[in-house]
């Protein structure tokens, strides 16, 4: 919302500086986004007189002027200025920009220059060059009495600070200058100027039939015909007002409606009565109806839209945008003034549906004062009569059955203690009431009555806010939050602790944590299980579906890193996968490129293998206190992975806690990462069993008294036998004595049988094992392996 200081002073009597006003506005919730003064950017420009104008010797369209710009320039003597404007002529007055002046409309700084061989000492400026409008057909012409040498901005009344404030959706009243002035006055910055509105008596009966249909979204429609008007350009003061706040002056009738929109947050509409046919009605739209709007766009209305129509056609979307062919123009003689009230929700829906964001919509959607309808009709009529002449009719007011409810007096309870209880401000009741009174609230026995312009007030908390913000949030005493006695207790949940541990463990093992987008493209998601959640309004195809895996995001990041010359990428991410039924917390690891750089000991660089991914997965699972010893490896983790070089880790046959291995070459190609050396792991955090809550005390430390015994067994095994199966069988051959079994060698000669060697640790408990006992265990170990098709290597 933009307004100038001069406009504000129509409603607020104050000596406060623009800075003081801005600070107070922000302090009471009308956040100032900027305060600027056009006079500052136009400071160098002066009123000047063209003394002579001669044709340029070498250019047909240019003239060489001599200009008097006052005593400051050339000691009051004439200045030679080259000018291309067709309207430049001797004796006219205009705006002169001296060398050194920055011309805001053409973004350049003037300097003395030769134009086609003739020296020019500045410029005579157009409207557009000074950013005062769009006109650029010629230079600005000032009246003959304009004093030469005076600051143009001062002469033109542009020395008027412009405020731009952000108005929150709850404050429709502050989309009008008067509402802002009222708030400032309530907060002690000046006095609200009373501006009584005198009714204009109707000279004749309003001849047009006006109606509102029930449930149309229009609850009231006041119409008044003013006949015999002359629609000419507005007077300069009004044009200047509108231009200053960024509105384009159009004609007096239109400008009047825009004036009240800004001045009083009251949108109005004017129709050329000669173009209306029959009855004017606010009703629901009908299928197939369309109209050309004032913005030159055609809209097809729907049955949820509130339209204003005559007997023949739709005239406009009520409260949102009017129609072009019933708009007022130069020839308008009789004008119908519309002052209506629309249901805010209906306006918002229509505006969104058609993508129309007008000033009228912004106001109606937030809620226009329904109690001020009559006053606003009178004020607008008076201004139209003043600017355009004519004669006004009576006012016709058509209302729906809801209108009584809309305009009914509202009472809101305010218990005196609530201001202190909710805002922490101990204010006497008299002061609470005084603030509300200054804001236009009435204090009545039945409660506080909010004014019509405050539709947002519907509860006690709203009144507390009004009192607190006007009294000042800065005066709310900072009050310590009550604190439980004793030392702070831990607050993290088991899942949060798990994530935090995993994160630290992953970083400690050399992985960099990335955070990638939750959305990926459909194509990227396709290789990782179907995406279950598709955005209806994605920003781009690249961000269209919610990721079913963390890997596509990490792969894309890896690709970018490789493009930047990285030889080795180790990334992890902890985040959610978005599956059909739930968002699943997940940790993912991606290893691409070199596991170890080439070095003087090992020689050439070592690429990542699936075992690097396995090691990371196990390390993280261990950090998560998962029972790593019980994990079982199942081959082939699914289509994401290389079928022969991937696996899942499970607890029992069903609970998959992780998948790891080499990325499927097809996906490696898709993501343009190296085939064969791109390894990954995904850990499904919800599948990790929660650590059992136990007492902090550990069992007693009872180291075995006897030394463990180690024995090696080498087996020839069937080629398909998984090493883990063999080790597990060996380990289980004697649950009492065998405390460890570890595969330490794997050998397969060309064309020969596969050999796996296992180191077994035996832990005697009561006495040293005899050779016979060791032999007995060995026999059981061999027997267990034999069941798997293995045989002891001789």
């Amino acid at each position: 919302m933009k307004f100038t200081l001069a406009w504000l002073k129509d409603h607020l009597q104050t000596d406060a500086s623009p800075q003081e006003i801005a600070e107070k506005l922000t302090a009471i919730g009308l956040e100032v986004e900027s305060v600027s003064n056009p006079a500052e950017s136009l400071a160098p420009f002066r009123v000047a007189e063209v003394l002579t104008a001669e044709k340029h010797p070498r250019a047909d369209k240019l003239q060489v002027l001599s200009v008097n710009a006052g005593a400051e320039f050339n000691d009051g003597g004439p200045l030679q200025v080259v000018c291309g404007a067709p309207n430049a002529r001797a004796g006219m007055k205009g705006v002169f920009g001296p060398p050194g002046a920055y011309v805001p409309g053409s973004a350049m700084t003037l300097k003395v220059a030769a134009i086609r061989g003739v020296e020019s000492n500045g410029m005579m400026c157009s409207v557009r060059e000074l950013q005062l409008g769009e006109e650029h057909d010629g230079i600005i012409e000032l009246p003959a009495e304009a004093p030469v040498g005076q600051s143009f901005a001062a002469y033109a009344g542009l020395d008027d600070p412009l405020f731009d404030i952000a108005v929150t959706p709850n404050r429709p009243d502050c989309l009008g200058v008067r509402g802002i002035a009222r708030d400032l006055a309530a907060a002690g910055v000046g006095t609200l100027v009373e501006r009584p509105i005198a009714p204009v008596s109707g000279g004749f009966a309003q001849p047009l039939a006006i109606a509102t249909e029930e449930d149309s979204g229009c609850e009231a429609f006041a119409g008044r015909l003013i006949r015999g008007v002359r629609n000419r350009p507005s007077p300069e003061w009004l044009q200047r007002r509108l231009t200053a706040v960024g509105l384009r002056p159009i004609s007096a009738l239109v400008d009047v409606t825009n004036f009240f929109s800004v001045d009083r947050a009251r949108p109005l509409h004017v129709y050329d009565a000669a173009k209306l046919v029959g009855r004017i009605i606010a009703r629901r739209g009908r299928a197939g109806e369309r109209f050309l709007a004032l913005n030159d766009k055609e809209y097809e209305v729907v049955s949820d839209d509130c339209v204003i129509a005559d007997d023949r056609r739709v005239l406009g979307l009520g409260g949102v945008i009017g129609g072009a062919d019933t708009g007022v123009g130069d020839g308008t003689a009789d004008v119908l003034l519309e002052c209506a009230w629309f249901d805010p929700a209906s306006i918002g829906a229509t505006g969104r549906r058609h993508g129309v964001g007008t000033d009228a919509r912004a106001r109606f959607e937030r809620g226009v004062d329904p109690l001020a309808m009559g006053e606003m009709v009178e004020a607008a009529t008076a201004m139209i009569l003043e600017l355009c002449g004519g004669e006004a009719s009576d006012v016709t007011l058509a209302t729906s059955s809801r209108w009584a409810a809309v305009t009914a007096e509202r009472h809101v309870e305010l218990r005196p203690a609530r201001v202190n209880e909710l805002a922490g401000l101990d204010l006497p009741l008299s002061e609470q009431h005084a603030i509300l009174h200054r804001l236009g609230f009435a204090v009545e026995p039945g409660g506080i009555v909010p004014p019509g312009w405050r539709p947002d007030i519907d509860g006690e908390a709203d009144l507390v806010e009004e009192i607190a913000r006007i009294h000042g949030y800065d005066r709310v005493p900072s009050t310590p939050l009550p604190r439980d006695p004793g030392v702070t207790r831990p607050t993290a949940t088991a899942a949060q602790r798990l994530e935090r541990r995993l994160r630290r463990a992953a970083a400690a093992s050399g992985l960099d944590e990335a955070i990638t987008w939750s959305f990926v493209s459909e194509a990227e998601a396709a290789g990782f299980g179907d995406a279950q959640w598709t955005l209806a309004n994605p920003l781009s195809e690249e961000m269209k579906v919610m990721r079913p895996s963390l890997l596509p995001g990490l792969l894309a990041a890896a690709r970018r890193n490789l493009d930047r010359g990285a030889a080795s990428v180790r990334l992890f991410e902890i985040g959610r996968r978005y599956l059909h039924d739930a968002e699943r917390p997940t940790a993912a690891v991606l290893l691409v490129g070199e596991a170890g750089v080439r070095n003087w000991q090992a020689g050439k660089a070592r690429p990542f293998t699936p075992f690097d991914a396995k090691a990371e997965a196990l390390a993280l699972l261990e950090a998560a206190s998962a029972p790593v010893g019980n994990l079982q490896t199942f081959a082939d983790a699914g289509p994401t992975w290389h079928p022969g070089r991937s696996a899942t880790l499970r607890l029992g046959p069903k609970t998959v806690v992780a998948a790891f291995g080499e990325l499927h070459p097809r996906l490696a190609r898709q993501f343009d990462v190296p085939e064969g050396t791109t390894q990954a792991a995904e850990i499904y955090l919800e599948a990790i069993p929660a650590a059992r809550a136990t007492a902090r005390g550990r069992p007693a430390f009872t180291p075995p008294a006897l030394q463990p015994v180690s024995r090696d067994f080498a087996f020839l095994v069937p080629p398909e036998l998984a090493a883990e199966t063999l080790v597990r069988a060996v380990r289980g051959a004697d649950k009492a004595l065998i405390t460890g079994a570890r595969l330490f060698d794997r050998y397969q000669p060309e064309g020969g049988e596969l050999s796996l060697a296992v180191e077994v640790t035996l832990q005697p408990v009561e006495r040293t094992l005899t050779e016979a006992e060791i032999q007995a265990v060995s026999d059981r170990i061999v027997a267990a392996a034999t069941k798997l098709g293995a045989r002891l290597r001789s």
């Binding site: 009050t479 959640w533 919610m546």
Partner: protein
């Protein structure tokens, strides 16, 4: 006996362990002369034995000591010789370990959890794919409410139980409702997490992180909110000169509402939090709207409290000096190593919540 000094001399002269052993055997071996002397004691009279016995023992002890001493010398010399051949160039590089990092967002979230734990706040969570009701309606943005337009919402193609499209949560505020529903009152929680807005430019990304704070109790007011935010910001930015300013504002789910500015000052040409050279907006906050408390199933006549929300990414940028939000989500390992944190830099109250 005259051999003693001679033997000592030979021990000293032995220049390796075998030579030393020869001398030892000659003197102390089974047929050594000292052994021989000791054997003669058996044929002596008691008086004679008493006289000669200690004398022979002293000889033996003296030689034994001399041999041990010489052995030690020879062994030390031998080790020196051996070690002299074992020199390696330790300026060669050791095997390299890659050093991993924790993302600044994660670090800052842990810092926040730590600070707020001390104020008695637990960490609550909620889904990122939310129903319209949790994201808007329960927070007093009824359908068609103009404030919904303040959020550039991503909608999903699937619809929720009310027949409305699911949304990607536009703020962490739905967790307020969930926390009240699940935990009841009194309540103190923070809720950090990913949020989404359909917005992308130099300072906005379609995904970012917020943290929500919620206190519900019987006698909580705006002054408690002010203190809590001051206290949190001082702890987070590790400065005592933090100034905040509450400005009245509007959020559908709070009443009264306040935007919170924090004072900044210029240090080495950079805007840092602290001091009061200017103000920047960092938080939205207010007293929880009675309708929101009621929507979450609590009695607004009994319970009231405050809520606040802020951008985690922005807090990270203000504290640690990043200037481009988009880089947070790029996964550039150069950036991660530059702005990331050591695995060991766990924020704690005793060690500090900054790293």
């Amino acid at each position: 006996m005259n051999d003693v000094e001679g033997t000592i001399a030979r021990i000293a002269a032995a220049d390796d362990l075998p030579a030393l052993d020869v001398v030892r055997v000659e003197a102390l071996g089974k047929s050594g002369w000292v052994t021989g002397l000791l054997k003669t004691l058996g044929g002596m009279t008691p008086e004679e034995r008493q006289l000669r016995g200690p004398e022979f023992q002293r000889v033996r002890a003296r030689l034994t000591d001399a041999i041990a001493q010489r052995r030690e010398q020879l062994e030390a010399a031998e080790l020196e010789r051996k070690l002299a051949t074992e020199r390696i160039d330790l300026s060669l590089p050791a095997p390299e370990h890659s050093r991993g990092t924790v993302h600044p967002i994660s670090q800052v979230m842990e810092e926040l959890a730590e600070i707020f734990a001390d104020l008695g706040f637990a960490v609550a969570e909620g889904p990122e794919i939310e129903s319209d009701w949790y994201n808007f309606t329960a927070l007093n943005f009824p359908p068609g409410h103009p404030a919904r337009a303040m959020h550039d919402t991503f909608y999903l193609q699937r619809t929720d139980a009310d027949g409305l499209p699911y949304v990607l949560r536009t703020h962490t505020s739905p967790v307020q409702i969930r926390a009240m529903q699940e935990r009841g009152a009194p309540l103190r929680v923070i809720a950090p997490g990913r949020v989404y807005r359909s917005d992308s430019d130099a300072t906005h990304t379609p995904m970012f992180h917020q943290i929500e704070g919620l206190v519900i109790d019987r006698a909580i007011h705006l002054g408690h909110l002010k203190w809590t935010l001051e206290t949190f910001l001082k702890a987070f930015f590790e400065r005592d000169d933090i100034a905040i300013r509450l400005r009245p504002s509007y959020f559908p789910f709070t009443e009264p509402s306040a935007e919170v500015d924090v004072g900044w000052s210029l240090e080495k040409g950079r805007r840092v939090v602290g001091g009061q050279q200017g103000w920047m907006e960092v938080l939205g906050s207010g007293m929880v709207h009675p309708k929101v408390i009621a929507a979450a199933g609590l009695d607004p006549d009994q319970w009231q409290g405050f809520a606040f929300g802020t951008g985690v990414d922005r807090l990270a940028m203000l504290k640690y000096g990043m200037d481009d939000l988009r880089a947070f989500f790029d996964g550039d390992i150069r950036w991660l190593k530059h702005y990331g944190f050591s695995a060991l830099a766990v924020p704690t109250l005793s060690m500090g919540v900054g790293a």
